[in-house]
Structures are given as structure tokens and as C-alpha cells.
């Protein structure tokens, strides 16, 4: 599809630069340009644009987004801002825009931004899921990696994995990836990034799963500011329909703020630890702070379970005092071989017990859990 662009930009220099970029971008034609929204709303219609680039450095332009939506029901509205801002993006998206692009932009940036909107179905709703285990060694990374693969296959949508196990992240090795940039650089640069330029920090693991890899050295963890990470989550959210975050162990400002910024948290436990139920009780006591929505927001997954019977599940639930959403079977050989060889994507077959259990979990969650970006 070719894009006929209606451009609204108040700054003359950026207006010229933008015109230049649009003309250079393959598949894009400039239909009309305006310095203010009044002109665009009045006369623009005759040019039948299907893409509107709207400068939102002016507050009045944000106010008239709903008018653009009414006047141009078949056009996609992409807002132009000097600095990307999660809150502002959320606001313009609620008003009906598809997203934000940081200006000045180049021709490839424009192409990527539009491609990003298309691949997410333009209906940019996203779900951020964090994975947390109190003590660790719970098989959490395996769970995240497999869930990403199954989710991408089932929904036919793009999935982002963020390896936020800050000191000893293993996602790169699971998928045999060689990252040039990691979560540390992404958090450091977040203020100057846009959802499009952020994509280059991710490494593709499969056609639909991309990974933001963990730090190279444990010391890098100290450089990550929790506030920046929350901002990063907001940005990744606007680019991927599903965002899965593999967190470090234990409660810290970092893990807590990431969980609070997410729609759903999986509390991952493993039967390997003798005292796991006590760790869970301790952790659940902290989670009680989430109040009434606790059971909607926090799902307990018990991993590496030998006895997957319902009776045993009930017994555990009584002991812990919390419902168990999923029992994942112990597939040590399958999982460790895949990780050793960096072939997670191809080795964990859809028919394995683990995949079956994760598919079941996704079916159970589907429909019951629909907390979406716009509502939050």
C-alpha cells in the first residue's frame, strides 16, 4: 500500500526536513503540508491522505486529534514529538492516534515506524507480563522463552522478551544470540530513543520473537535506573503486542517497579527447593499490598513438578494459601539440552509436555485476562 501523507508541522525547518524524508521514503508521497491543524482539518480532505503526521509539540494539536479521527476515518495518525514520552504517547493513543515518531525523522525511520504499526495490526494494544521468582533457579528463563514461542505461534503477533535478570541473564545463551547492545544501553539511552530506534537494541530470535539481552557484566546492573526501565517498558509496549520480562530474583526497587508497570506477573516456583513454599508465603505477604486485584494480576506457576495430579495441586494450594494457575512438568533433559545447544526455538517441540502445558496455560488465560494499555 502506498502512503499519501498529510503533514502538519509548525516548525519551518523541521517541516522542510520532514518533506525531504517523505519524498525519499519509498512508497510514500506527500499529499499536503500545513503549519497548523486548522488548515489541515479544513482543506486537507481533498487530498485524500491515508497517513497523517501531526506535530504534537503544540498542545492544541493534541486537543484536536479526535477531530482528525472523525474527519479522516481511514487514515492512520502518527504524532510527531521532539522527545519520546510514554505518558504523552499513551495520551495521544487514547485520543485515537496510532503512536509517536520522534522528529526530525529520516526516510528509513518513517518506513520502520509505519511497518511497526502494520505488524502490530495498527490496533496497538499490548500486554506486558513480568516473571518473578523469590529465590531463583526456578526454571523461569525456560518458561519465559517457551511462552514467547508459543504466544507468537498462537497469536501470530510479535513478542518481545526483555532479559531483566540483571546480573546473570541467560536469554542470549538460550537462543544462541550475540547481542551488540543490552538492557543496560537501552535504559541508558531511553530518553533519546523512540519506539522505532529502540527496535535496533533487540536481537531477533525467531521471525516473531525479539530479545533485549541481559548485561554483559554483573557490574552493569548498577547502572540501570529503575525509573528508566519503567520508561523503557512503556516504549517497548507501544511497539510489541506482547512483552515478556524475565526479572532478577528477590524484591528490589527494580523488580517491584517493573512488576507494577506490568499487566500481569507470573510468580514462578520450583519443586527443587525444599523450602519453596515458605519462600512463596513470604513473597505473597509482600504482594498482598496489591489489594483486591491481586489474584487477577499475580498468577502462581509451579515448575518442575513430578506429581501433576489435581489432588497434589490442591494440597499445595492449601499449604501456600494461593491458587496455582499452572503446574509445569519436569522436562530437565529436553530443556537443558536445548539451552546447552542454544536451540531453544527449534528444539522445544510443540508436542512436548512442557509446550502442551504452556499452551493450556495460554488457553486458560485467554479471555479472562484482558488488561490493556488504553485502560491502564
Amino acid at each position: 500500500m502506498d502512503f499519501r501523507v498529510l503533514l502538519v508541522e509548525n516548525n519551518s525547518i523541521i517541516l522542510d526536513q520532514s518533506v525531504n524524508a517523505i519524498n525519499k521514503a519509498p512508497g510514500f508521497t506527500l499529499a499536503a503540508k500545513y503549519k497548523d491543524s486548522a488548515g489541515a482539518l479544513g482543506q486537507g480532505k481533498v487530498f485524500r491522505p491515508n497517513l497523517i503526521l501531526l506535530d504534537i509539540d503544540l498542545e492544541e494539536n493534541i486537543q484536536v486529534i479526535p477531530k482528525f479521527v472523525r474527519e479522516y476515518p481511514h487514515a492512520t495518525i502518527l504524532c510527531l514529538c521532539t522527545q519520546w514520552d510514554a505518558e504523552l504517547t499513551a495520551r495521544v493513543m487514547r485520543a485515537g492516534a496510532a503512536g509517536c515518531l520522534v522528529k526530525p525523522f529520516s526516510a528509513p525511520e518513517l518506513v520502520d515506524a509505519v511497518k511497526a504499526l502494520e505488524s502490530s495490526g495498527q490496533n496497538v494494544t499490548s500486554e506486558v507480563i513480568t516473571f518473578f521468582s523469590p529465590k531463583g533457579k526456578s526454571g523461569q528463563t525456560t518458561f519465559v522463552a517457551n511462552m514467547a514461542l508459543r504466544l507468537a505461534a498462537k497469536e501470530q503477533k510479535n513478542v518481545a522478551i526483555i532479559d531483566a535478570n540483571l546480573q546473570f541473564g541467560d536469554m542470549a545463551i538460550f537462543f544462541n544470540l550475540t547481542p551488540t547492545t543490552t538492557i543496560m544501553e537501552a535504559c541508558r539511552d531511553v530518553k533519546n530513543l523512540s519506539p522505532v530506534s529502540l527496535t535496533s537494541y533487540f536481537v531477533p530470535a525467531t521471525a516473531q520473537v525479539s530479545v533485549l539481552c541481559g548485561t554483559r557484566r554483573p557490574e552493569d546492573a548498577e547502572k540501570i535506573i529503575p525509573k528508566n526501565f519503567v520508561e523503557l517498558i512503556g516504549m517497548v509496549r507501544s511497539r510489541f503486542p506482547y512483552v515478556l520480562i524475565d526479572l532478577s530474583v528477590g524484591f528490589s526497587e527494580f523488580t517491584v517497579s517493573a512488576m507494577e508497570a506490568s499487566d500481569l506477573t507470573f510468580l514462578v516456583a520450583s519443586e527443587d527447593s525444599v523450602f519453596e513454599n515458605r519462600h512463596l508465603k513470604k513473597a505473597l505477604y509482600v504482594f498482598e499490598g496489591w489489594g483486591d486485584s491481586l489474584q487477577d494480576k499475580l498468577k502462581l506457576v509451579y515448575n518442575r513438578v513430578q506429581n501433576t495430579s489435581n489432588a497434589y495441586k490442591q494440597q499445595l494450594e492449601e499449604s501456600i494459601g494461593y491458587p496455582i494457575t499452572a503446574f509445569l512438568p519436569n522436562e530437565y533433559d529436553l530443556v537443558s539440552r536445548a539451552a546447552d545447544e542454544g536451540r531453544m526455538a527449534s528444539d522445544i517441540r510443540p508436542e512436548s509436555k512442557l509446550s502442551t502445558a504452556i499452551n493450556q496455560l495460554l488457553r486458560d488465560l485467554h479471555g479472562k485476562h484482558q488488561i490493556r494499555w488504553e485502560k491502564s
Binding site: P134, K135, G136, K137, T141, Q167, F168, D170, I173, F174, N176, R217, P218, E219, A221, S248, V249, G250, F251, S270, D272, S273, V274, F275, R278, H279, K282, A283, Y285, V286, Y332, D333, V335, S336, R337, A339, D340, E341, G342
Partner: protein, 278 residues
């Protein structure tokens, strides 16, 4: 402020550390403390995994005082701080040692400050021959402080799958970077003989050192000892029990076991080539 007495004997700090949880740090710490105590030395087992430490569970105790209350007491009055008032006495099968565990509540764990705990460790060193430290698997401020205070760092590893080995290597490199010399590190392999596809010689090649001690895989006995709250070294002479007792003798003997110089293997193949270059 507390007095640094130049003539006072300062106890040895043995920090049990790993780069992954679930390696057996708590198992080794408890048993090492018990084994050293059994040899007749005064021992305190210190727990610095402040949020999810297992020592109280494993020993079946519910101490009145803990690391948080000890820190608070030191903060209130460094000069009037007596560490004796804060350690819990543990007696198992006639062997006595002491422990200072992490607090029960996570809220209290949040209050713990490594810079203050340092003074608690110093107080422990003045009182006990040996302090065995059970840590959390991370390079956080607490562990950096403990490693800095350590006579020896017991780097505990298991060889299950490749990510664990990668993290052990990162751990060794990081220890070196933060100034912990190889001479102060003892590499201990836990669950030796457990199922894995990774040849030990390759793993040691990657680490650039060999494991001086191999602790046999005895998952059942370990689970049972946790459930019965009795250290393995005090209940019979299984091979795991004997290995840990041997370690206790090495650490308390005159010979601290000079480390054989081990050149890193040049040839790296298979699994490891893609991780650490050809």
C-alpha cells in the same frame, strides 16, 4: 566507636558464594560450620541472603535476634554493642555452634545496610574462630563487603547446563576484577556425578581452574537433613559427610591447601566455543 584491638585474634571468614541459586550454598554453609565446630573451634554461621535465606528453616530454629536487630543495636550504640547478645546457640548431636540469621520479615530485610553489617562481621571476628557466611547468588553490596572481609571465598558450582557454567565463568572474572585474588578462592564442585552432558574437563577449562573439592550428589540425604534439621556431617559418614569434614580439616589446619597452578586450557570446543570464542 568500637576499639580495633591490634593484638586480638581475628577469626577467619569463609564466604560460601555462587553465581546461581540452588547450588547448595546453605547445605555447605551449615555443614561446614557444624564440621568445624565438631573439631573444637568456635563457629558462627552468618546469613546474608536477607530476603529468602533458609538457615532458620534448615536448622529448625526461630531465633529471637537476627541480622537486622544486631545492625540496629550497633547503630544505636556502637560502643555498647555485644555480638554475644545477638547470635543464637545451636546444638545438634552434642556439637555446638552459633548463628546469626537473616530477619524473618522482608520489611526488616529491606532495612539492612551492608556498610553497617560490616561492623557486625568485625564484631563476629573478634568473638569467633570461624565465621561461615551463607550468601545470596549476586554481586550486590552485601556480597562485595563479605568478599572483601573474607579469608577465603568458597566458590560453589554445579555443572547442570551451559547457562550455569557461563555464569560461573562470569563470576570468576568478576571476582578477579573486584580484587579478590585467585589465592583466596577455592572452587568447590557440588552434585558431582549428577546428570549432565558437559564434560568436567571442558568446564574447568572454561573456568581456568580446577575444582579442588568434589562434593558427591546426594540429593536425598540433603533433603532429609533439611527436613530433620540435622547437619549431614553430624549424622553418619556418608561420602558427602566425609568430604565436608575433610574440607573443615583443611580450613582449620595449618596448610590451607596451596592451590595448584592450573593453566587455562587452550582448546575450547563444542558447547563452549560459541560462548567464549574459538
Amino acid at each position: 566507636m568500637e576499639q580495633e584491638n591490634a593484638t586480638a585474634v581475628s577469626g577467619a571468614v569463609l564466604t560460601v558464594f555462587s553465581t546461581a541459586s540452588g547450588c547448595g550454598k546453605t547445605m555447605l554453609s551449615i555443614n561446614l560450620a557444624a564440621a568445624i565446630a565438631k573439631l573444637g573451634f568456635s563457629v558462627c554461621l552468618l546469613e546474608t541472603d536477607t530476603q529468602f535465606g533458609d538457615i532458620a528453616y534448615a536448622l529448625g530454629i526461630d531465633p529471637k535476634e537476627n541480622l537486622h536487630t544486631a545492625q540496629a543495636a550497633w547503630e544505636r550504640d556502637p560502643g555498647g554493642f555485644f555480638i554475644e547478645d545477638y547470635v543464637a546457640r545451636v546444638e545438634k548431636k552434642g556439637t555446638v555452634f552459633f548463628t546469626l540469621t537473616a530477619p524473618k520479615d522482608i520489611e526488616d530485610a529491606y532495612q539492612i545496610q551492608p556498610a553497617h553489617v560490616k561492623h557486625v562481621v568485625k564484631a563476629l571476628r573478634r568473638k569467633f574462630d570461624y565465621i561461615v557466611v551463607d550468601t545470596q547468588a549476586a554481586f550486590d553490596q552485601m556480597n562485595l563487603m563479605c568478599i572483601d572481609q573474607s579469608t577465603l571465598v568458597l566458590f560453589l558450582g554445579i555443572v547442570d547446563f551451559l547457562p550455569t557454567v557461563k555464569n560461573m565463568r562470569i563470576g570468576m572474572d568478576t571476582l578477579t576484577r573486584i580484587g579478590c585474588d585467585r589465592e583466596r578462592i577455592r572452587c568447590i564442585l557440588n552434585r558431582s556425578g549428577a546428570r549432565t552432558r558437559l564434560p568436567l574437563s571442558d568446564v574447568e577449562g572454561i573456568l581456568g581452574t580446577s575444582f579442588q573439592t568434589h562434593l558427591p550428589n546426594d540429593f536425598k540425604s540433603v533433603t532429609k537433613s533439611f527436613e530433620t534439621n540435622t547437619p549431614i556431617v553430624l549424622s553418619g559418614n556418608s561420602s558427602l559427610s566425609l568430604e565436608i569434614q575433610k574440607l573443615a580439616k583443611v580450613f582449620t589446619g595449618e596448610d590451607f591447601g596451596a592451590q595448584p597452578k592450573q593453566e587455562p586450557k587452550k582448546e575450547k570446543k563444542g558447547f563452549f566455543a560459541r560462548l567464549f570464542g574459538k
